[in-house]
Symmetry: C2
Subunit: 499 residues, 2 copies
């Protein structure tokens, strides 16, 4: 076969896998948005069947043979070569799992997820404990299957963020936490800001209209996606021409919907900016979870919680909610939406204390996977750490170690990518401002298209071609550096809290 024929056969196989994978994703989207109650069990089965098929196709020897053969060819284009390399990596990793292990894991995840639901309902970790422990043991087995250097947890971190290690995270957090703590203490000693106006009654329909308006303003392409309502906001894609975001509306809390809309739009414009021609191939996928999160957080925080942004949008927002916000000053609105306050729930945390939430989960997972602590110790470990870092105590497990869905899905090693996302966002945005001298003024005029195009050019169009680290170096000229993030926080809170 000519290289061209061989590459086409590879592409065809990958396209078929993508079709099945994205079909399964649509079933999941539907499950979270529109599925009738009685269909839950059968839907679970349908998703499992498609996932199994996708796995089966992706571990097919035929694909392996084509990949091995393509690897030997020297007349592939640079992009083609990269696709083949990355696919071969994925393929080799997938082949390590026996189908027996895959089935066991999938069954245990299913059981653990239902225990978590039940445990939350009854507000009791003990209902979750046994299934969670069985899952932790399987994840420990998985680290053996995958292999690792130095720390067992590295194998799992690497699943969500290629190249991410305990060493790197320990170094990053060790560098960051004392500065964060110091900043937090300085803020706490100052006069606190008032954000009570965010907790008034904001009618659902008005919030929805405002959110849709905002999304459109932020260049979400409604011809290549849509927004719906779900219990927890998320972004999911079935191609770069079909990217769906969801949101939720809390009538008594304005923050909930607005920043979830901006956050998910950040994820979505990344997916919409991936090259359509690379459908089903690595170069048609996002670079990594942390880069994905950097896009959502750049829009949500660096843009969407900035004075520049609200100078333009606050008068417009007031037109949607004249009764609630008509009498509020822009400056007080800005301060209110940036209020810092140690709290129990990660998803509601401010930009500063957020990273303590992540750090606590990271420490817990690291010790759980290494075996240094046991599953039964989670609640006490959790509560101690929250007391220590944030000075708060959860009244119950639901407000504590049962709050996140991740472990019930077997996603150990995921949380750190949230913090990395914030750090990358600050570094990238700081560099974007240097490269786009008119940016501040544009944002102040409600024009964010140039910023999006810059992100498209520097990040989105590359797909998975580069790792997070490579992208970061290419764009900013240096590896991940928390200095930009700290500078960003310092500048913001100095102004808000008169530090």
């Amino acid at each position: 076969m000519t290289t061209n024929q061989l590459y086409n056969s590879y592409k065809e196989q990958m396209n078929r896998i993508a079709d099945v994978k994205y079909s399964s994703a649509l079933l999941q989207w539907d499950q979270e948005t529109y599925l009738p109650a009685k269909a839950a069990a059968i839907r679970g089965q349908q998703i499992a069947t498609l996932s199994e098929l996708a796995h089966q196709f992706f571990t097919d020897e035929k694909l392996g043979n084509v990949l091995t053969e393509l690897k030997l060819r020297d007349d592939l284009s640079e992009d083609e070569k990269r696709n083949v390399e990355l696919t071969l990596e994925d393929y080799t990793k997938n082949k390590k799992y026996s189908s027996d292990f895959v089935r066991k894991m999938s069954e245990q995840v299913n059981k653990t997820f239902h225990s978590w639901i039940e445990a939350r309902k009854k507000d009791s970790f003990s209902i979750f404990e046994n299934d969670l422990d069985a899952l932790v043991q399987l994840k420990r087995q998985e680290t053996e299957i995958l292999g690792y250097e130095k720390h067992r947890y590295n194998a799992l971190l690497n699943e969500f963020e290629k190249g991410c290690t305990v060493d790197l995270l320990d170094k990053t957090f060790t560098g960051l936490l004392p500065s964060l703590k110091e900043l937090l203490d300085r803020i706490t000693s100052k006069e606190q800001v008032d954000n009570s106006f965010l907790k008034q009654h904001y009618p659902k329909a008005d919030q929805w209209n405002w959110g849709m308006h905002l999304i459109k303003e932020l260049n979400f392409d409604f011809e290549a996606g849509r927004q719906d309502i779900s219990e927890h906001p998320f972004t999911i894609n079935f191609s770069s021409t079909d990217v769906r975001i969801t949101t939720r509306v809390d009538e008594n809390n304005f923050s909930n919907m607005t920043w979830s809309c901006i956050h998910e739009t950040g994820h979505a414009v990344y997916e919409q900016g991936l090259p359509e021609s690379q459908y089903g191939l690595p170069l048609g996928e996002a670079a990594s979870l942390s880069i994905h999160e950097s896009q959502s957080r750049l829009w949500e925080n660096n843009v969407g919680r900035s004075m520049t942004f609200w100078k333009y949008y606050f008068p417009r927002l007031q037109l949607y909610f004249p009764k609630q916000l008509g009498a509020i000053q822009l400056e007080n609105f800005y301060k209110g939406i940036n209020k810092v306050e140690p709290s129990l729930i990660r998803t509601e945390a401010d930009e500063l204390t957020y990273h303590f939430h992540v750090f606590i989960r990271y420490e817990l997972e690291k010790n759980l996977i290494s075996g240094a602590i046991n599953t039964k110790d989670i609640p006490s470990f959790w509560n101690e750490q929250y007391k220590r870092y944030l000075g708060v105590s959860a009244a119950s497990d639901k407000q504590g170690c049962l709050q996140d869905i991740h472990w019930s899905h077997g996603s150990f090693g995921y949380f750190p990518t949230y913090s990395l996302g914030s750090f990358y966002a600050a570094q990238i945005f700081s560099f974007a401002k240097k490269q786009l001298p008119g940016l501040e003024q544009e944002l102040q005029n409600g024009n964010s298209l140039n910023l999006l195009n810059w992100l498209r050019e520097n990040i989105h169009r590359h797909g998975r071609k580069f790792t997070s680290e490579e992208l970061c170096r290419m764009i900013t000229g240096k590896p991940l550096d928390i200095k930009d993030f700290m500078d960003y926080l310092l500048q913001k809170y100095t102004m808000i809290y008169n530090l």
Copy 2:
């Protein structure tokens, strides 16, 4: 293997096929309701991949072997035996198609569908002609593959309605048409009824609320289904616990949404009444297209256009539309919604003239497949027949032979099931009234649950266990008989038109 093990292996394989088939159905539902414009092409590809997989699994030798082996076992229950028989029939039929032919057909259908869209846009049959002709030739090939007795068209009829033949349809229509024509002439000679009040402005949101109310009243289970908006109303299911209907709202025509809601609910409660335990197996599927249609039409017409029904619902409807209907008398409403008038568009036809529309299509298809007329003759044949039977002439192809989607999908032999549905509906409903002496009174009190339960007991719960003909005999004690249908029309129109 024990029979039990063998039957479980059969069930497992069928479940997997159903999972893939229903996933594909969800992709289609989404395509008609929520798909963003730019995703059309990739969605087509995703659906094609799933359809191909379902076909591949269903023609897998492994399934054939299990079926052949099961057929020899004598310790299956009656239902299990029937499942195996029906699946083996389906399997044997599917195996007749070469994958080459399946691909050719699927490609030609795709091309023809797009030509039809284009032809409608430009209002010109000639744009459709070549692709349609290629499709007709493939359908003729298909009749050779499937085999047939007497008439080539029988092979295609049998695909949509097992056992249906040209002989049967000729006999049925020959018996019916003169009486219909005579009735139509008598009606035309009388004073015509006024239905102009249906063409006022009925706001979208009010129509939606009214439609949702009506659906709930008719026992559609919203925990096992939902309603959405699409361009053309349809019912689709992904299990008996997830049945979705769609409707459309025409603000200037009240009829459009209300009776489409009732019609699709008729289909939906059938699907919701199929046994959940038979998911993926023949006994979990509807008996036939004509029986399916009998359920939608029984609710839409025999119930939903009856005086009994509106005695209860008209005062309630007036509360939704006081401005439009407040001054209309029940009797005039009833007459208006049953107005008979020869027209060009099948989907808007009344209960009487509707069957001329079907008959014309039937005659056309029969002659097209036998070769008695050529594809290029369709417009002239069409127009002659409409003139002859209904006395109307289409100003353009769009109002004429381009109006229905069916041929562009390759669905030749489908139309007759619509008429059969009406005939079965009349026969079944007439018998239901005999068996449920309180029925009229119940319906007049807005209570249709007993009727639904009777249909569940006599039809729904059996799935595909019996053919249309068998079901009809079991329920009414006789085969299909158009007398009930004619009696129903005579009685209705005698009252409305003072015949």
